[in-house]
Structure formats: C-alpha cells, structure tokens
Amino acid sequence: MKKTIGGLVLLIALAGLQSFKGKPVQAPKPAAIGKATMDRGKRIYTQRCLVCHQVDGGGVPHLNAPLDGASLVQGNDKTKLVRIILKGYSDRVEIDGEYYSNNMTPLADLNDQQISDVLTYVRNSWSNRASAITPAEVKAVRAKTK
C-alpha cells in the first residue's frame, strides 16, 4: 500500500512538471522603473508608511491593510491611489476579502514628485509589479481633490 502511494506521488509530481514544461514560472516582468525613483520612493516609504504597512509591505492582519499583493495597489485606478495618499482612508470596506480597523492618516504634505515616487515604489516592491505613477498624474488628481 505504501509503495502504491509513493509511486502515485511520483506520478503526480512528474505530471506536474510536464504541465509546466515550456512555460517556466517567473515573476511578472517589472515595469521599467529607474533606480533613482525606487530609492527616493523607499526613503519616503520608510519615513511615512513603514510603521503601519511594515518592512515587508504585509501590513498588520486585521489592523493595517497590506500593500504587497494588494489588488488595489497594483490596479489601474491610479486616481484612487493618489486620493488615498491625499485624503487618508477611514472607510469600513472589505479589501481583498478582509476588513482593517485602523484609520490611515492623510499625507497631503508630500509634494507631487514625492507621491509619485512612493506610489511607484509600492507598486514595484515585494511581489508587486505595476506601471509608474507620474508627478503629472498626481498633480491632475490633486487639482480635482478637495
């Protein structure tokens, strides 16, 4: 019986390998983000974001939402991301299937370049890969946000 199971496991493992043949698994190709942008973004992240969202971008379960792997962070709604930085976040809403208790403070004192850098950084750190957010995009959202 034990032998049968062993053989079966091997078979399943081989079958698994077979199915991946020709399409190696790898992280999505990072967008072309300059090192200078990432370095500036990391500095702001460390000063202003890390205490809640943590060094691994994992947040704090049920208190502070994770950034790593978050659909909103990597999504196409850049306006929403810029607004969260400008206005903070205190909505009781489900984020990727979880609720988070703590309010996020607004960071509207950051300038357009700084917001662009830190958002680009979090969209391209840990497992995240998404396009950059430009200072012009931040400026446009800020103009429309009261």
Partner: protein
C-alpha cells in the same frame, strides 16, 4: 489511473473510519487515563521552562480569540469572523490523548470574549454579550438558545472587541475600547491635538459593569466601573485580592504624530503596556497621560501639552506592572491550578499578541509571560514563559506563524493558549518532578 485513485480513496476512507471508530470506543470515562497527557515531540514548536511540555490540541480552526475550558476538559473557543457560519467552536477529546477529535460549532456571531461562571457560558460579539445554560458537566444544553444579556455596545472599528469576566457577586465586566488612538481631533494625524474633555470616555475607553443574570441590558443598565483605559483585551478576576485586573493596550505613534518631540526609538519603547488593579471609580488616565516605564512616571500626552518630560495624571492610578511598549497584551489569567510548580500558584500569565508599532525597530512580544504574585500583588519580576509562537526570525505581523491571543486553565491545571493567526490551540503541561 483513475481506478487506482478510486481504490486508494476508498482504502483511505475505510482506514480513516477505522481510526475514528476506535477513538469513539475509547470514550468510556472509566478507561480514561488520569495521568498527564504527553507533550508533542517538538513541544508544539514552543520554548518552555525546564519540566514543561506542550502539545497542539487543534489547528487551523479559524481566528481563535479567547478560550475557556470546562470541567471535563472541553475547550470553547470564541472566533472572530466565523467558520462555516459559526462563531464558537467546541473542541472535545474523546480518547484522552489531548488532541481534539470532535470539533463542533454554534453561535452566529464573531467576537472575542468567552468565559464560564455559575453554570453559564458567556460569550460576546463586538456589540453584545450572550449566555448559554450549561448542564452539570458544563456542556451547553441548547446551543440555539442564546440569551442576550447586553446589547448596543459601541463598535466603531478600532478596539471593537468586547472582553468579559465575572466577579463572585453576580456582576459581569465588559471592556469597551476607545475608538481612537489618543482622542485627537483627527485620529493618528501628525500634530492634531487632543479633544478636551475627551468625548469618547462617555461611552467607551473603560470597563463597564452589568448584571450577569439579567436579559436586555444596555448602557443605561450598566455602570462605568473604570475609565481612562484605551483598550483592554486581557482581563481576569483575581480571587485572592477579589479584584478586577486588566491589561491595557497603550497608545501608538508618539513619533509619527509628534516627530519633533519623540524619536523613532521613543516611538518603539513608549509607552508601557500596563497591568492595572482596578477599583470601582478608578481612572487610568487615557488619553491625557501615558506611562513611561523608564522614568516610572505618568507623563502628560503630547496631544494635551506634554513633551516627554512633563508629568501628568495626578488623579490617575499607577499600573501594578509596566511591560515594554506595544507588545499587545491580549489575555490575562491568574493561575489557580495544581499541576505547575508552587511558584506559579496565583501568579499571572499574560499572552502578548506581538507588536507592530515598534517598526522600523525590531518587533517584540509574540510570547506568553509569567508574573509571580503573593496575596493578590505582584511579588517579583516578570519572565518569558512560552516563546517561539512566531516561528520566524525578523518577525513582521504578517510573517508570524502564530500570535498568542487567549489563555485558559484546564481542570487538571494545564494552561491553554490560543492563536488567532492560524487558529492553533496549544496546551502546556508540566511533567517535571
């Protein structure tokens, strides 16, 4: 291939059936061994003092918050969030090996608080407290009959859990946490000052006392027993002092809110996580003060004119123990059992969920500590009792494998610890001589 699978599955089902059947036949109480259960070979991954061992009672049962063990050794677990629609899980060990083999659920609400007293199981959601009548073996007689004794308690996301404990006089004590970090005009915002007087304290930021035996109570039926407590998750009734003891979660973000007054290191190390012995009418001082464990003083909060040097809170009580900052004490238990060595008798165990607000400095906590007590007062320094729950180096709150959340004492004197990260229930036993 498919057929081989079917045969295999059938064989597994049959052998599995065989095991559970054998276990059920071991349910005869006369055959149950009286000796202490065996610890797991790896002590469930925990580091413990010499002579102690640990075993996993159950795992992956959901976000296990507070726990209580009935006189038969069944564990009732309060879940935050529900599993299969149920907010309370009962773990039963039919064959006496210490491992739960019958797991059942009831209660339609998530929450944190759970306790047993005077023939009832009490459990809380984040707004209400319920109770269930127990039979003489402390089994819930009818799990569908929850008597709602308190409702309408404030839940505004932050510090929403309601912890509960009873005294010996028919009262139940409920923590109602402050829905704020430090009662600022704008919560957690840099430079925002505190509201005076803090309006939160009317309905939260304290411990409320209600009747344990009366249905349909709300704020008007309760008494604000103690105030100025930001958020209490761990609390217990000390039988020797006949007094309520609580663990406060201290405030966050001194550096982030007042970067000119407090460094990142200050932020990580201030304020203390405090244990308070409460009397009716006590004020622990939140949000106007915080406790500095290095100066051993109550300091004026920066939201109210403090600067890290100015003392405050002349009318506020002092803590009986000051622990390092941000460790997040989620459970308090006074040990009255006979299994552990004499030094543990009547002492306090505290389960620290583990920090996040110490970042970017290393995180701390994620362990259970012990504080010796004599005659209802701390009689020595606290020490780490059970460590290794996080199971990783360079802990972050997400990467921690387990986070201690609840404590309970079994009828044999075992100490149970719950984990709300992965849903493991641990049982710590003493096998030394």
């Amino acid at each position: 291939m498919k057929k081989a699978f079917q045969i295999l599955s059938l064989a597994m089902i049959l052998s599995g059936y065989g095991i559970s059947h054998a276990k059920a036949s071991g349910d005869d109480p006369k055959k149950k061994p009286a000796k202490t259960v065996a610890a797991d070979a790896d002590n469930a991954g925990l580091k413990l003092p010499t002579g102690f061992g640990a075993l996993v009672v159950a795992e992956n049962i959901g976000r296990a918050r507070h726990i209580v063990v009935n006189k038969q050794g069944d564990v009732y677990v309060k879940l935050t969030g529900r599993v299969n629609g149920k907010g309370i899980t009962k773990l039963h060990d039919a064959d006496g090996d210490g491992k739960a083999d019958q797991i059942t659920g009831f209660g339609q609400y998530g929450g944190t608080g759970i306790t047993i007293k005077n023939g009832y199981l009490y459990a809380s959601s984040d707004e209400e407290v319920f109770r269930y009548k127990l039979d003489d073996k402390e089994n819930v007689i009818d799990t569908t009959k929850a008597e709602k004794i308190i409702s309408g308690l404030i839940n505004r996301r932050q510090h929403e859990s309601k912890s509960i404990v009873l005294d010996n006089n028919g009262s139940i004590y409920v923590n109602i946490g402050a829905y704020s970090n430090s009662c600022q005009e704008r919560d957690r915002q840099a430079g925002s000052l505190g509201r005076t007087p803090c309006p939160i304290l009317d309905s939260a930021g304290g411990i409320w006392q209600f009747s344990a035996d009366k249905g349909g109570q709300t704020y008007g039926d309760g008494v604000r027993y103690a105030t100025g407590l930001r958020n209490v998750v761990g609390l217990d009734w000390n039988q020797q002092a006949n007094q309520l003891f609580v663990m406060q979660h201290g405030r966050d973000d001194l550096h982030n809110i007042f970067p000119n007054l407090f460094t990142e290191k200050d932020n990580a190390e201030l304020p203390a996580e405090c244990m308070y012995a409460l009397k009716k009418g006590d004020n622990a001082g939140w949000p106007y003060i915080y406790y500095d464990p290095f100066q051993n003083k109550k300091m004026q909060a920066p939201e109210y004119g403090g600067d890290g040097k100015k003392e405050g809170g002349k009318d506020a009580i002092d803590p009986v123990v000051a622990f390092p900052a941000h460790l997040a004490p989620n459970a308090l238990l006074f040990y009255t059992g006979n299994m552990f060595p004499a030094k543990y008798k009547n002492g306090a165990f505290v389960a620290f969920h583990g920090s996040w607000n110490r970042a970017p400095l290393p995180q701390e906590g994620y362990y259970v500590v012990f504080v010796p007590f004599e005659n209802g007062k701390p009689s020595g320094k606290w020490e780490i009792f059970a460590n290794g729950f996080a199971g990783v180096d360079n802990i972050t709150p997400r990467s921690a494998l387990h986070r201690p959340t609840g404590l309970a004492q079994g009828p044999d004197g075992s100490l149970y610890v719950s984990d709300d990260q992965k849903g493991t229930i641990y049982r710590i036993v003493y096998n030394g001589k």
